[in-house]
């Protein structure tokens, strides 16, 4: 652990990523304190940046900076909730597939192939059409899209761990499956899972923004970056700030999570695959 920590802090990219992520989290938590205006305050429509509105105002006559600050809340919550969902469904599936080769593995992996064969957006649309539209439905849709990624990676890691000597030894010693799973496999899965969740959070935020950009979203008075961008693109030739600000916010946040995820991976297991 100590070695990992050292590797982590000596990795400049990881540190930058960590700082960005902590910063975005802080912004989200203190949004109501640091935002210059309340979210429902109206001023003028589509004004350029000024002393009163650092990033100008949007088509709803609202302060862009305020909305970008509040927007971090939904991105982070929706992103993490959907990843939690993906973990809760994806990890057991992946672990089971990896631990029980043969029929179980085949059934799980072939089902995942089927899911992967569709564009993620199609699945999200179907989920949204089946549930009542709203942010909870978006979270569920994004969670479902991410299940295959977790299941596949966890299966691969489980397969590797299973062939490790200490697990084989435990099996030979007659340990129960449950014992082996909780005491031998699970600890080994934690590291990769942390890395995967961090990277996954980045892509989940991206997916929420993407769906929202296509108009698949919940209450529009909840500030959200993808939705802001979609709205701003209509007035692009009049006013560019309402588009640039949320666009940069999404990009920087995801960049932060990616840097942090890469750093964690290098720190926790330098031998792990460095690509994605």
């Amino acid at each position: 652990m100590n070695r990992s920590w050292k590797r982590f802090v000596s990795n400049r990219g990881a540190l930058i990523g960590g700082v960005v992520v902590v910063f975005v989290c802080l912004v989200a938590m203190t949004a109501s304190l640091i935002a210059p205006y309340p979210i429902d305050q109206r001023d003028q429509k589509l004004t350029p940046p000024s002393a009163a509105h650092w990033l100008g105002t949007d088509t709803n006559e609202k302060d862009v900076l305020t909305w970008v600050i509040y927007g971090s809340r939904l991105s982070l919550t929706a992103g993490s909730l959907s990843i939690v969902l993906a973990i809760f469904l994806g990890v057991p599936l992946g672990a089971a597939a990896g631990y029980f080769p043969g029929a179980v593995d085949q059934v799980i992996m072939r089902s995942i192939d089927v899911v992967l064969a569709f564009p993620a957006i199609l699945i999200a649309l179907l989920v949204m059409a089946a549930l009542a539209p709203g942010w909870p439905a978006v979270i569920i849709a994004v969670g479902l899209i991410n299940i295959p990624i977790f299941a596949r990676q966890i299966r691969a890691t489980t397969l590797t761990l299973r062939s490790q000597d200490y697990v084989t030894a435990a099996v030979a010693a007659g340990a129960t499956t449950r014992h082996i799973f909780f005491w031998s496999l699970l600890p080994g899965l934690v590291g990769p899972l942390v890395v995967l969740a961090t990277l996954g959070l980045g892509s989940a935020i991206l997916e929420v923004a993407g769906l929202s950009f296509l108009g698949i979203s919940g209450d529009p008075t909840v500030p959200e970056w993808g939705g802001m961008l979609a709205e701003a693109k209509n007035d692009l030739s009049t006013s560019i700030w309402p588009a640039i600000a949320p666009g940069l916010a999404i990009s920087v946040t995801i960049l932060g999570f990616n840097l942090l995820g890469d750093g964690l991976r290098d720190a926790l297991d330098p031998r792990l695959d460095h690509g994605k």
């Binding site: 006559e61 539209p133 108009g215 008075t221």
Partner: protein, 519 residues
């Protein structure tokens, strides 16, 4: 080969070698493509825009006003009981395929609309069938005379003959293409169909033998461009000549450009906030009135319509006869709204009031920025103590859920199918129109008095008397406040200064016959 590739790359970036555009073809950019070009099988605006240039109707609107003028019918008369209409057709008119226009063609076209299971109707979805159900029979008296018999007197009958579903189609072409007629449309209009790459472009060419004379331009290309920002850019670069359905703020900034002309006409539409009268607490008139008072519609018009709309007091737009223009509006008054809410609360209406507001995703002419409007309403209601949750649904889903009465509040609106108050009041507020599939009385307003007045006005033939009946109905409706009328929007089209002669029509039909191009 390598040097060729190099040239290709260099010139790609320099942007030379652009396309050679045939100079006299008008390019019309809009948000979406047409769906099918058979007049009886569609109800979307993008198809109507194309069809009103391919087909003619028996009667039509004047080039600038809503007055009905002769088109394929040179003259017409009606029997004293109002049940029999005789149309005398224009001589020497031919369809684009050479078929002569005669009574049989008119009979054929109208019967496709009115005869159930007509042998040349290959798709049973006929959205406007209800508007023509008063027709009992159509007969060809002689080659140039057609008689239409009605089941009962129907005041708006002549107006329905100007609606696009009553367009006259070439029987030869329908019989030839059968189920695929919609992609090979043949009419008598000023432009004839040339080609159509779905979602890419639709080309019409001028018809040399059009009975009003050949249009000055050589043709029209309709270009579906989903993103409005892209349409703006294309217009500025001269890639398109006319752009419709742009967001209000963009039109305002375009209006400052000397090479761009913005046309504006008061439209025949109403955007309103529907309130589900069946659901508590909206079954209480005071709550509905409070919501009315809580919304500053003047500010809403500035904010979501860039000022290009008029405040609505009743559903019937002021440009239409029969609109009750003397009603004293409930002005924006948050204090009064709070008092009304307090009074209701004192009588046991549970507080705080929480409501769901249903919102559509895509703009409509009467609701150009649904998202912005919804946010505005939510903010306004919050100020008087009503909490709202906005629920966004894709358009078709939105209306479907509201007809089933799943909403409490919802954004809605109506663009006139025909210029008649019946089309607004009966369709949107009569108790006949409450049902789970397609009932447009989404406010679920049930008032026997209003119903009786509207039913009486439907069969009354005297327009003065009808207007009187409609005014009485509107007074009752205003008092009950089953919904909040928000705005009547202006229709605005943006065109480059190369285009002249094209006039925006109050019916929102985009008839391009008179356009000229100077390129």
């Amino acid at each position: 080969m390598r040097s060729l590739l190099f040239c290709l790359i260099v010139s790609t970036f320099l942007g030379c070698g652009g396309p050679a555009v045939p100079s006299n073809i008008l390019i019309y950019g809009r948000g979406d493509d047409a769906d099918r070009l058979d007049p009886i099988h569609t109800d979307i605006g993008e198809s109507v825009t194309v069809m009103c240039n391919i087909y003619d109707t028996l009667v039509t609107y004047d080039d600038e006003t809503l007055e009905l003028v002769p088109s394929l019918a040179e003259s017409w008369s009606t029997s004293d009981d109002g049940l029999e209409w005789t149309f005398h057709l224009r001589k020497g008119v031919t369809f684009h395929d050479g078929t002569p226009l005669d009574a049989d063609a008119v009979l054929f076209s109208l019967e496709r609309l009115t005869v159930p299971m007509h042998p040349f109707v290959f798709d049973q979805v006929i959205p406007y069938v209800q508007s023509f159900e008063a027709i009992e029979s159509v007969t060809a008296v002689d080659p140039l005379t057609v008689k239409v018999r009605l089941k009962r007197p129907f005041a708006a009958f002549l107006t329905t003959m100007a609606m696009f579903p009553a367009s006259i189609v070439s029987p030869t072409a329908v019989k030839k293409y059968e189920g695929e007629f919609w992609k090979h449309p043949v009419g008598t209009g000023p432009f004839q169909f040339d080609s159509w790459n779905v979602n890419q472009q639709l080309t019409l060419l001028s018809f040399d033998d059009h009975w009003r004379g050949r249009p000055e331009i050589d043709g029209v290309i309709f270009l579906p461009v989903g993103e409005s920002a892209v349409r703006v850019k294309q217009l500025l670069r001269g890639e398109i000549d006319i752009a419709d359905n742009l967001p209000p703020a963009e039109i305002d900034s375009l209006a400052k450009n000397p090479h761009v002309i913005v046309q504006e006409k008061a439209g025949m539409n109403t955007g309103y906030l529907t309130m589900n009268n069946d659901k508590a607490p909206l079954d209480d008139q005071r709550i509905r009135e409070a919501i009315w008072c809580a919304i500053d519609r003047d500010q809403l018009i500035k904010s979501a319509y860039s000022g290009h709309a008029t405040k609505a007091v009743t559903l019937v737009p002021p440009t239409l006869w029969g609109s009750h223009t003397d009603l004293t509006d409930r002005e924006y008054d948050p204090e009064k709204a709070k008092q009304l809410l307090a009074a209701a609360a004192a009588d046991g209406v549970p507080t705080p009031i929480r409501l769901q507001l249903f919102v559509m995703t895509d703009p409509r002419p009467y609701m150009q920025q649904p998202r912005q409007t919804a946010i505005f309403i939510k903010d306004s209601l919050a100020k008087v103590g009503i909490e709202t949750e906005i629920v966004t649904n894709e358009n078709s889903q939105h209306f479907r859920r509201m007809t089933r009465g799943e909403h409490q509040l919802g954004l809605a609106g109506w663009t006139a199918d025909m210029p008649d108050p019946d089309n607004f009041l009966y369709t949107l507020l009569d108790l006949d129109n409450i049902n789970d599939v397609g009932g447009n009385n989404m406010s679920r307003y049930r008032n026997q008095k209003v119903h009786d007045l509207l039913a009486q006005a439907k069969v009354e033939m005297n327009q003065e008397t009808r207007a009187e009946l409609y005014r009485a109905a509107q007074e009752q409706i205003f008092a009950d406040a089953p919904l909040v009328p928000l705005v009547h929007t202006s229709v605005r089209n943006v065109q480059s200064d190369a285009v002249s002669g094209y006039l925006l029509h109050p019916s929102s039909l985009n008839r391009l016959r008179l356009s000229k191009l100077a390129k």
